[in-house]
Symmetry: C2
Subunit: 227 residues, 2 copies
């Protein structure tokens, strides 16, 4: 039996590629997504299609009420910035940062991993071509891994050790796209935009769309989900 | 204006006393509870009464679906142990441990604290007379505090520092009860039992009831919520 891994899956480029990496490394994958009150809950339909397409053992979608906490353009009545320059994106923490979101997501991944007997958790964070989110940095991930091994039954019984895998952390968006392509990812299934248009198309102007556009351009490829 | 604190409040003895301590230290308190699929959701009615009685600014109850993850006698079809001896309780991790629960709770507290501009989070964990849960130990709390200061906007901008307060961590249950009494806590409002009887009374035999009973006995006081 292959080792099990829990993979955080939003349905975007990065988490989809992270799932493809985990599959390629031979893990039986348990995909975990969240309906957390995000503006772009549209991404969950993509997550479902990606999970099926890449062959996960199970795909769990948990509900969280992060709207009750607010504090982000993704979960409160704060406009999503549009048309920012490439130089601006990634400098400072943008209003699309959702307070403690990755900590909340990883905590649930840890809980599920413990129940599944999995020691491996994959998250598609990256720091190059990223949005300036504090909870995507390597020092944050290391601190979470340390916490995970104190927080759990395994931490007391010293039977196993959790590892947080970040296969994309040092890749540019173009490299992530190329890596995904090599692994057979169908990026037509993915969803990136934070603020979809009324007709359901990506806006093409939010930070997430702009980083995606830049990535496909640098990879010399056409985006199968045009904005 | 007083500083704000987020206080995790289950409605039990410990978190109620932790809230009373935070109030006594002069914080404006924002109480946070979870309806997470626990068997003893009865505790939430107590949390509401405690939050009102101790004068919180706000009491937020968030829903989480920890039943979908399972793995604990509190969230899955696993019997709650009854009638264990005092020597047995606290040795090893019991089946009432909910995987990564305190990490999930503290992550949400961190998110809310960040939105409220609070730097202080109170949690009523204790290690003496405790249930052997890994996520109640001082080394776990220290690791979470470290994580909190990397996970957030504050971690990047170095404007503030989160502190996780554990005012009860080194107290026995009897000492917690005495401290609560001194601070004017009405323990009649609290709820402890993991597995209430059909008539709504505490079972008197689960680990939580037994620790409560031992605490009141050692404090030389009568429990206003008899089992």
């Amino acid at each position: 039996m292959a080792a099990r891994a829990v993979v955080l899956l939003s349905g975007g480029l990065d988490s989809t590629t992270a799932l493809a990496v985990a599959r390629a490394e031979g893990y039986d994958c348990y995909a975990l997504s969240f309906e957390y009150g995000q503006r772009h809950a549209r991404e969950l339909a993509s997550a479902r299609r990606v999970a099926t397409s890449l062959g996960t053992e199970e795909h769990l979608v948990l509900r969280l009420d992060l709207r009750a906490i607010g504090g982000s353009a993704l979960t409160a009545e704060i406009p999503v910035p549009k048309g920012r320059s490439a130089e601006t994106i990634g400098t400072g923490v943008p209003v699309t940062y959702v307070p403690a979101r990755n900590t909340i997501f990883l905590s649930h991944a840890l809980a599920w991993a413990e129940v599944l007997g999995a020691q491996d958790i994959f998250i598609g964070v990256n720091v190059l071509d990223a949005s300036g989110y504090p909870d995507c940095r390597p020092e944050y991930i290391e601190a979470f891994e340390r916490l995970a091994n104190l927080a759990t039954r395994a931490g007391v019984e010293r039977r196993s050790r959790f590892r947080i895998h970040t296969p994309l952390i040092a890749l540019s968006k173009a490299e992530i796209i190329r890596r995904g392509m090599e692994l057979g990812v169908d990026f037509a299934l993915t969803w990136t935009c934070y603020a979809p248009e009324a007709d359901g198309r990506p806006c093409g102007l939010c930070d997430a769309c702009l980083l995606r556009k830049k990535g496909f351009a640098e990879a010399g490829l056409a985006d199968p989900v045009p904005s």
